[in-house]
Each structure stands twice: as C-alpha cells, then as structure tokens.
Amino acid sequence: MNKNNSTKKLALTGGAAAAEALKQIEPEVMPIYPITPQTPIIETYAKFQADGEVDTEMIKVESEHSAMSAAIGASSAGARVVTATSSQGLALMHEVLYIASGTRLPILMIISARALGAPINIHGDHSDVMGCRDSGWLQIFCENAQEVYDKTIIGMKLAEKVNLPVMVIMDGFNTSHSVENLEVLETAMVKDFVGERTAITPLLDTKNPVSYGPVALQNSYFEFKIDQEQATNDAAAEYQKIAQAYQEISGRRYGFFETYHTKDAERIMVLTGSATGTAKVVVDKLRAKGEKVGLVKIELFRPFLHQELSAILKNAQEIIVLDRAQSIGTTPPFYTEIVNSLYQIGEIKKIKSFVYGLGGRDIFQAQIEDVFMGKFKDKYIK
C-alpha cells in the first residue's frame, strides 16, 4: 500500500468502478449507445456530466456502429476518446474496429463482456471479445472491480502512448454488476498519471492538413499492415512500463500474466476474468491438502506474449485451460494460444481444454476442484 498519498475506499460495481476512473480521466468525447450489461457505465458517467463533475461531449448516437465511427472521427480530430459496449454492440462495431486500429487511433473502450446470439443472451462470457481478437485492438482483461478501475487508467495512458485502440474487458454481470470493495486514487494523481493527449497529426489542425483513410492498393497495403502489427507487438513493452509506473502510485502490480502458486506447481490452470477468484480459492484449498497446483491469469490478451507464458508453464506436467468462449469448429481461443506458446519452445505438454460459463452459466469451486484432480470428464463445465 502506498503510504504517502491519500486514497479512498469505495464499494462499487465493476461498471461504476469504470465510470469512476473515467470521471478522473475525463475524456473529451464519449460516443455512447446503450446495451446490457455495459449501460451502467455510461449512465453513471452521464450523471457526472449532469452534475457538472465532468466536461465531456457525450454523443448519444443511434447505433454502436456509429458510436465507433464517431469515436474514430473524434480521435482523428485529436481529442481523448472513450466508449463502451458489449456483445451484439461490439459485433456491430466489427467493421470499424479494424479501421480504428488500422488508422492508429487511440480510443479506450470498456467492454462488459457478454454472450453473442443466437440464441440471444444478456449474461457474461467472452464470446464477444474473442470475436474481435484479430481486430488489431489491444485487449486487457480484468478479474474484479479494482482491476477495472486500475486498468481503465492504465488502458487510457497506453492507448495514447502507442497510438492504438485499447479494450479493457470485464465479465458482464459477474464483475460489471457485482459490488466489490476497491481503492480509488486521488483525482489529481490520476490526471497527472494519464496527462493530456497530444495527437501527432490531428484533423483539426487546418494549417497542417492531412487525409485519414486513403486507398492503399497492392503496392502499399501490405506494408501498412506489417507496420501496424509491429506497433501492436511493441505495445506490450509500453504496457509493462505503464503498469510499473502505476504500481508506484497505487501499490498494485499488473503485467502480462498474473501467476498464483505456479513456481513448483505440477498442474497449472490458465484462465481469466471473474472465475479466476474462485479458482484461486480452490488452489488454496488443494495446496492445503498438499496438491501442487497453481494458476495463471491472462491479463494482456492482445498482443499475446507466447514466450512469457511458456516460461511460466514449461515446468508443469499438466496444463488445464479454461475458456469462457468457444471457437466453433476448432479448439477454444485460449487453448489454441497456449498450445502455440508451448509448441514455440518445443514443449509438447499434456494440455487439457475446458469451456465454462457460456451465457452466464455459473462455475462452482467443486467443479474447478474436480477439473484440477482430473475427475471432470466432459470438456464443458456446465
């Protein structure tokens, strides 16, 4: 805990925690469109606006596609831009997600991750964010309300530092609507940390006119995409630097992956989001019985740091991957990444794949325990 600055203890839902961080960051333009379970974020922020606590242009657009389109316009103009969405809304943004990242526009988007139809379901899972994992957006996962607050601040600074759009993702309802204790920093501290955005070639600088979004054909398109991928990969180091700087002002350490009892673990579970808390409790119980188990929580999912992950997992005898999304027609997303990570260091390990929590289905300690102990035969923890 950092002694020399005053912090406040609050009990907030994940959504409210995001809004709290956004109030301190105070974006200039925030295009918004309602969708459960994200809506409390924009409602809470709209109240801050109504009470004069923030000065933000909230554009109440007529669709999520227009929310991201307006965000692209505002970010190209040079402003600090934030939006938020879930599920079908994120899917509707799909076309313009790629345009935001391809145009290297810093936009922070908070996601309350929710199942994708059909059938329609308003509850939490990761299918929506997995659906745009190749869109060129940086993706940061949160376990709880405290992480949502912290990573919203980290995500804003990261986006504007590397000029790439960033998604900060919490589990819909599990995190977004569950009240938890958290600590918030002093506003002046947050404002100093994120600073102000100074765009490189802002559209509003009419003395230095630029064109955003030209046509690039066979002779140049390829190079632009290589350049974009390079920037995305380079963003990992910047994320780590910002996370370290954030630890100095908050006392809370974030990184690419959080390890929990992995040093001597024979069996390591890999997952992310709100279920990680439950899994930690199970690890503690099994450790008490002498079982050598541990877990790894994925924090930075895009870019994905294969070497760093395989370094953590390489000594384990068995790796258990819990995906909260399918990749219909092939193996689930996290599992596919982790097989790739280990393959890269020639480690052919026993890797098991499980899918849990689709459409808000709860996962219980007993199930996680059975999975650790190899007693769970089905690949669906339902």
């Binding site: 391809g102 145009t103 290297r104 070639t201 230095n208 064109s211 979004g213 632009f224 920037a231």
Partner: protein
C-alpha cells in the same frame, strides 16, 4: 511509411492526368470572350483566365471536352493530338 496511412497532400506525388488525353482542347484566343463559363465546369480545375482569355493547363487536362461543350461562343475546339 506514414503510420496508419495518414497522408499529406503533395503535388509532386500526384499523377499528371494530362497523360489520359487523346482529344486535345485548344482555345482560340480571338474568339474567347473571357466569360470564364468553362472555368468552374472543368473537372480538373485546369482552366485559368490569363489576360481575360481561357488558358488550359495541359499537365492535368484529361481531354473530356466539357469546356468545348459549355463555351457559349465555341472558342474551344477539340483536336486529335
């Protein structure tokens, strides 16, 4: 390599579309009455009034023939070049 393909206007990088021409507009300076009707209709903004006479910039003129068509006194003739 401009990051995000954000580019600046640079005339030197622009194609001289005059190369498109196969029909060539010529202004008969005597006939031209300096009304400048042709000027705003030229899709390439290639016509200027010089000493009150229409003057065509052949770097960019694509030879479409609009100027010849709109000229009220038929002072512009399209020629094969």
């Amino acid at each position: 390599m401009e990051h995000g393909a954000v580019i600046k206007h640079d005339e030197t990088k622009g194609p001289k579309t005059g190369a498109w021409r196969y029909m060539h507009p010529e202004v008969d300076k005597e006939k031209c009455i300096g009304c400048a009707t042709c000027v705003p209709f030229c899709p390439e903004a290639s016509i200027e009034m010089k000493e009150n006479k229409a003057d065509i910039d052949y770097d960019y003129c694509k030879g479409c023939g609009v100027c010849a068509e709109v000229c009220p006194v038929k002072a512009i003739m399209m020629k094969k070049k």
